[in-house]
Amino acid sequence: MKLIPPYRYLRPKNLQEAVEQLGRYGEEAKILAGGTDLIPMIRDCLITPKTMIDISFLDELRYIREEGDMIKIGALATHSEILKSPLINGKTGVLAKAEKVLGATQIRNRGTIGGNLCNASPAADTAPPLMVLNAKLKAISVEGERIIPIEEFFTGPRKNALKPNEILVEVQVSPEPEKSGSSFIKLGRRRALTLSVVSTAALIVMDGVKCRDARIALGAVAPTPVRAKETEKLLINKELNGEVISSAAEKVVEEINPITDVRGSAEYRREMSKVLTKRCLLEALESVKR
């Protein structure tokens, strides 16, 4: 673990300036938001940015609001802000559930949703819930704006679809639909302040006893967070009960590709993907009934 080496520090006054600065310094620059991923990575010598563009002062990127049928979360919204937001708790409970078990209070007070996504850890805890919410990510560069569906955002461990000159500015999600239920379950190595060994988010939309839509996403079991579409298919248009859910959950192992590391073995991750998917779906179903 090393001291943080010197770097050029830039503090844009507004988003426009940030975009310009990133346009200028591109590859050699890093965006600095909460720093909770960046600083440990620099100390571990995994990256050595020459320039840091500190966007943490850009309050224009710190918001959570509803616009039309969309909930829009600014990239700089912290995990604590999201966790405490009545809007998020009321309309996208699956995200709130993940925020509750992300890091610890100090980390949630600093870490941002933008940083969590851009850091693109396979274990990023906001990723599975945002995937089942079909989130769209808005990025800006000197060339303009674009919307990236979250499914296309993660391209590998710690790799994302942003171009070197792009800043993520907003996360857009639709509220969980009527007659839907959702859940998020995280399996860590202890009861708090722990990175996911496996995490699962599920959202199901019901039509009477029938499942109209099902979305499942998992974290820490592949090079990126993943959607389990084949598993979802086994649920859609079915009458949901314990048996259907159990047998569908078995399928999930075919959609993941876990590794063995200090946090857990691939074998255990495979097993837990099934267990968590099942539990998560059952909880989601349970929450529809209420």
Binding site: M1, K2, L3, P40, A104, L187, R189, R190, R191, A192, L193, T194, L195, V262, R263, G264, S265, E267, Y268, E271, M272, V275, R279
Partner: protein, 774 residues
Amino acid sequence: MGYLEELLVKEGLSLVGKRVSRPDALDKVLGRPLFTADKLTRGMLWAKIVRSKYPHAIIKRIDKGKALGVPGVLTVLTAEDIPGENQIGYAIPDQPLLAMDKVRFVGEPVAVVVAENEEAAEKGAELVEIEYESLPAVFDPLEALKPVAPRIHESGNIATTTIIRKGDVEKGFREADVIVENTYKTQRQEHAYLETETVIAVPEINKVTILACMQSPWLIRRMVAKVLGYKQSKVRVIELPAGGAFGGKDDMIPMIAPIAALAAVKTGKPVFLMFKRDETFEASNKRHPSIIRYKSGATKDGKLVAVEIEIIYETGAYANRGPFVLWRATAHAAGPYEVPNVKVDGKLVYTNRVFSGSFRGFGDPQIHFAAESQMDELAAKLGMDPVEFRLKNILKPGLTTTCGQVVDQSVGVEEALRKLAEKINWEKRKREIEEYNRESKRKLKGIGVACAYHGISTSRGAPDWSAAAVIINEDGTITYKGGICRLGQGSLIGHAKIVAEILGVPLSYIQIEGPDTDAIPEARPTHGSRGLMTGGTAAADAASKLRRNIVRVASEMLECKTEDIEIKDALIYVKPDPSRNIPFSEAAKELYVRGYETAAYGFYRAPKRFFDPKTGLGVAYGVYVYIVNIAEVEVDTWTGQVKVERVHTAADVGKAIDPDLIEQQFHGAIAQGLGLTLTEDIVFSDGKILNNNYTDYVIPTVKDRVEVPTVVLVEQPYKGAAFGAKGVAEAALIPTPPAITNAIRHATGIRFKELPVTPEKVYFALKKRRGEKS
């Protein structure tokens, strides 16, 4: 009557045995600068250690040139710069301060860069060029024992061996109706104190002063003197409060203070040396990993007849305390029971991994994990209740330990076990849990018991003593200079209570000072749970001497007989007529005026212990602390996660000088035992530690805490110590792992023989058994 006997029968105690709030807590809550890193000042140089990147290699060449070219770097020191001996081995002279010709683990110190600031020191350390020739390395103790294994030390890969030969095990096993044999393994545990190892060395003319968090001031003095080629009087060691130590700082500070001292002496400036968190993980001592083959036999009416045990403790690259740790484990190998026939063979084995060493429990947690697992397996085979089976064999006064030592006093383990089982209603609780499990699908509960004993103080019959000093100041306040270090355990608070009790003053009169080698004679280290017992007895000796002077001066002042003097709450009065009295402060002043001695040193000398190296039999320890834990767990069969719901504990502490301080020690020890049992493990790849941080080395958080709802203190006094008190700092950790795994066994029917019991292991064991059943 000697002062110890007097104290044992002393009545109307006002402090000893009572709960007091800790006098050190205020400064800590206020975050006042107490710790070594808080004493860093501008102008101090920074030392940075350059460490081996190889697990096993020959050093071909060291080039300091580039490092010396870094602005701010003052010097780069290597083995050749050491004026005295380049040797810091504790039990065996096998460990250099700075590697000379060979490195034996990743993280071993090779050079030290001294610079004006941290940045330059770090930069310089990166630029010291070391050319290595890699050697084949060995990471597994069983591999290391093979004749073809690479030789880590010239003497071979076995650092030392131990034995016990008591009775005749073959005959014992012939008498046995049931025999259980298993192999147990435990892992490498990191102390993970929040404050990393930190040292300041200040040079003076022909002298050097060390300020640091520590456990062994006089050992540090000896090591610094040896490395510098100084006489001991030319090294002063001043202890600062530690941010946790747990044995780690017992070994580590004597190994790094000489580096800081060398840097200070070479540059003529004060030097600051602080480990980063990853250095602590990679280069500090760990709890010895163990492989223990354990065979036990009992008769059908539940009497243990024989145990045969093979112990392998992995010491890593250097022996360090290993010979003592292994010896302790060997002497305790049969658990707190009488077993007539015992055969133990211990081996301490080198590997190319970071060295092992002192850690709360000092070898006893590993051996008790095996011994207490065996007890439950035997009980199961006999169809007996685990508590009942233990009680049939438990040590009582007059019985003999593993190494044939007759325990004659303060043997309260039977009382502790009976009381605890009764208090928590063991039988009933067990039945309730079994009923719950019959209904429950996902979660299974279990309850398990384990007993332990732990000899107080040093192992291998090494001599032991302690010292302390008390000064009565002219205004009646008292300065207590302890020889025991402040690790957070509050030992010196216990001493101060003893001093205050004896002198008849409130605790607030006592100013507590930590060790300073220039102020008091050697008091030996703060380890082996000896702090309160040995240090407190030395304190009592000093205080008793001064009490005699106070009593004499007061009797002169009050014109009465010395026997009639009583002191309470800082008031000295004549017993038959309390209206004739003087304040303590006046008597204190008179001591000075009339030329009495106003300060005293106190000493403690341990009873002689001895052992026969041919059989391992003898008197291993002066006295033992005994402890019983009962754990209740819940196993999530879906994920394999184990939740330890509560641990109940009972101990024979001799005499509780402060029941609250004892309880605090139990809480902390159980929490560390929890980590040892369930999550903590150092993971390597090619000799390099992968989880060198708190992210991936998993210790309990507040949400993982274990409730300790029942604490039973048994007080069977030990006549060899002040007020009969024994040490407790390590005790509650020792039976925690087996109590938990015994509870898991009760919940699931599965015996886990390897620590840590991770969710993965539990999950797959459950899955395997489901497969076997269906």
